[in-house]
Symmetry: C2
Subunit: 329 residues, 2 copies
DNA sequence: CTGAAAGCGCTAACAT
DNA sequence: ATGTTAGCGCTTTCAG
């Protein structure tokens, strides 16, 4: 493998000049520039990025911590982030935490070991104090998941509004006994739940604690929820699911029990992922502009990278959220 | 940020000894080891990975090129790879090519710039010669996607067998006019198609060239295929879809046209992803042990990394594939 | 506009 | 068992 010294020698110039050409610095004669390019091509030279990183003390890489990639929400989020990242010559290092506290810490160490310049959380298992302490090593952003007392910038949607809106819709459709299946942890989950609760309270509807479920967002969780509901005495007529995956599981299981949707049981999703349109009946759901959050998050990251001095204490950015009406309610 | 020199000074030892402790080398007294640990903790020392990489001339990172992550096939594949990778202290750098030839080349350069030690393709847009030329920079593996004349190790399933098996099943169910929707490029797609064709030929069934579709694996492709089929004069009674996504799209669209499945039209999927169970009716499909391929691929990568001298010219590894019977046929 | 030289932080001979 | 030292390949002052 050729090094910068080889190129310099072949071009009859110094390593400094070659470096200047590589990095598009001004003040290099066109003639010498051509000489360098030629030598680089001849030697099939490519700069060694470890050396560059060590010298420049930056990696142009951002770690993105997601619980997993099999939940389609995250690939879409990442797609949004990546659109902005590539424009800014940043690389994403995608890290699956699998909801594991220790894995999360391991990935946080990417910041300490200078393997990445910044880090984005899309779910948190550790407490904020722990995480906040890593901020000295580089910018950290919370995306989607959040906790308001954090001294960490946050990009999120108004979850409260989303679930409030969804619940109102269910109530307007005549439902009185509505079950709720959360899943998201932290304040995001709490906000969603609060939106649900407030909408119910506003209409003077009671919420049975037995109809409040808390399962991770997956198809299987949805199936489980439905079975548990069927075993209840005072069966809810509608379910507000925490995600389209859960809602899809509920729908699927309901049909295996020959229940009609929405007549026997109505289901509200959350996210509006492709799966929402696919299941039969298709899901009425709360649309989150997932890619939009991803983009916004990366934009903030970039501005933090460019401007490390900014005080970003507890900034919250919010994006719109809307109700998509289909067939499941 | 503390460096190894700081730790050495505080511990009253040389940098070499500290390095030995970091890298778990033998021949360090327990006493001194403790001294080092203590100093590291006190200074909150973490080794700079750029420096380690530059010095060791390896990154312990493998690039995985996928078309995208929104097609659930790839997250599952990655999950398999990652299981093996973490066990071996390897990091995955997931790269979305978006089916773009140039992006693919950009990612290939990760090898040249020494940013990764090896690289795995799960889809190829460039020709093999181009790719093969990068092999001098580190091991390259083709996973799933393949071309048999490649001088590159390949991990794949017997696609021919899969589609042959599926088509036989369709024929046994009485179908005579069967449409086929491929999508995968290269020989993988060709093999699948050949399996289909051979099964048809064996039963002396004709294949109308108009019923041979070639669309990328997505729900929308499926919808499109169904609409085109409905516009045909001599309508097929069954469709062999190239993926569960396509099959799901077909099923969805068929129902919007009030067609019954499998009575009016039967659909065979490919992959057996969660979506296969979710749609109504659930998909009869060809199960690929996706995670298994991922694991196997990473195992090969690791052995290539450990044993760079091995001649891995055109090795093919195959894994079992099976028919999963559900409701769509 | 170009070159010389210092050094980013670490590891691996080599020496003891 | 531990320390000394020479780089890994690159960028960036500082001179000129």
């Amino acid at each position: 493998m050729a090094t910068i010294a080889d190129v310099a020698k072949l071009a009859g110039l110094s390593r400094a000049t070659v470096s200047r050409v590589i990095n598009n610095h001004p003040y290099v004669t066109d003639k010498k520039k051509q000489l360098v390019y030629q030598a680089m091509k001849e030697l099939e030279y490519y700069p060694n990025s470890s050396a560059q990183r060590l010298r420049k003390q930056k990696t142009d890489t951002i770690a993105v911590l997601v619980p997993n990639l099999t939940n389609p929400f995250f690939p879409f989020l990442i797609e949004g982030m990546e659109m902005i990242a590539v424009e800014n010559h940043l690389q994403l290092l995608i890290c699956q935490t699998q909801q594991d506290k220790d894995k999360e810490l391991t990935f946080l160490n990417l910041l300490k070991t200078k393997q990445v310049d910044g880090l984005i959380f899309t779910a948190i298992k550790n407490d904020l104090e722990t995480i906040a302490s890593y901020q000295e090593c580089g910018p950290i952003i919370l995306c989607n998941e959040y906790q308001s007392e954090a001294k960490i910038p946050i990009i999120r949607l108004d979850q409260y509004k989303g679930s409030y809106m969804g619940t109102r819709f269910l109530i307007e459709k005549g439902h009185r006994n509505i079950a709720y299946c959360g899943g998201a942890e932290g304040e995001l989950g709490a906000d969603r739940q609060k939106g649900f609760m407030d909408a119910m309270k506003e209409s003077r509807l009671e919420v049975d604690s037995k109809s409040m479920f808390r399962y991770p967002p997956s198809i299987d969780s949805g199936k489980k929820v439905l079975r548990e509901i069927l075993a209840m005495e005072n069966k809810p007529t509608a379910i507000f699911a925490g995600s389209d995956e859960v809602a899809a599981g509920i729908v699927k299981e309901a049909k295996s029990f020959k229940l009609r949707i929405p007549e026997d049981i109505a289901v509200m999703g959350f996210d509006d992922l492709p799966i929402a349109e696919l299941v039969e009946p298709s899901l009425t759901t709360i649309r989150q502009p997932v890619k939009g959050i991803g983009k916004k998050t990366m934009e903030i990251m970039i501005s933090m990278l460019a401007n490390p001095s900014t005080n970003i204490e507890n900034q919250v950015y919010e994006l719109p959220i809307e109700l998509v009406i289909r067939e499941s309610i």
